[in-house]
């Protein structure tokens, strides 16, 4: 099977269109900024249309930032109309976006055919046990990489 990559802007426009029609969308995860929860190229993400509940701390959202940059990161702070996002695998990098820039909420992560649903104990374990402090994160990521080195 051939693996091809579609331009981000086109792909996410398509995703937004499907979500607006009320369809859920499954896509493969890319990038390492949500480690250790979401693994590049292996995990499958299920996206749904964002609702009022999506704009809450701890939720995972897909947002369009400036210059057509798309991220799937965790909401870490809600202030006024703005959301602060940070990838679980990022130490000190935050993104800020408005509610209108949130295209989707991640409702499920599928790993090796097993589904981790939003709000399930495994989902919450990644949310609550993973440290927020940059130094602890650095240690956690180093441990993760060492354990997963092949």
């Amino acid at each position: 099977m051939e693996v091809r990559t579609i331009n981000n802007t086109l792909f996410f426009a398509e995703v937004a269109e499907q979500l607006a029609l009320g369809h859920a969308v499954r896509m493969r995860a890319r990038g390492n900024s949500m480690l250790p929860f979401i693994r590049d190229g292996r995990d499958v993400l299920v996206l749904g249309k964002p609702g009022e509940d999506s704009f809450r701390r701890g939720r995972l959202v897909l947002a369009r930032l400036e210059e057509d940059r798309y991220v799937i990161h965790r909401v870490v702070k809600v202030q006024g109309g703005m959301l602060w996002l940070r990838g679980d695998g990022n130490l000190k990098v935050y993104e800020m976006c408005s509610r209108a820039e949130v295209l989707a909420e991640i409702t499920e992560v599928v790993r090796n055919g097993r589904s981790i649903r939003q709000g399930s104990w495994r989902w919450n374990a990644y949310r609550f046990l993973w440290p927020s402090h940059p130094f602890l994160r650095r240690v956690g990521l180093a441990l993760y990489r060492r354990l997963n080195k092949k």
Binding site: F11, H23, A24, R26
Partner: protein, 89 residues
Amino acid sequence: MRLKEQFSIRNIGGEYMMVSQSGSGLDYTRVVTLNHTAAFLVESVIQKDFTEEDLTDLLVEKYDVARDVAAKDVQALVGTLLKEGLIEE
């Protein structure tokens, strides 16, 4: 034969893609790109039983091509879809 799953043909940036549809969702983890003709054929037989003959008829009707040429194209397409496990006999 018949398409194994429910598919939706999407045009993304000028390219036709066959996206599998399950329940209320679309699965972009595995998409098959199609050319214009293939997209037309696949779209015509979504949720229908069909034979290579049927597809050849469709092609001849729509594109005004010689029957043997159309039949060859259809054979190639069906071969690919079978190989990828997208249709069943």
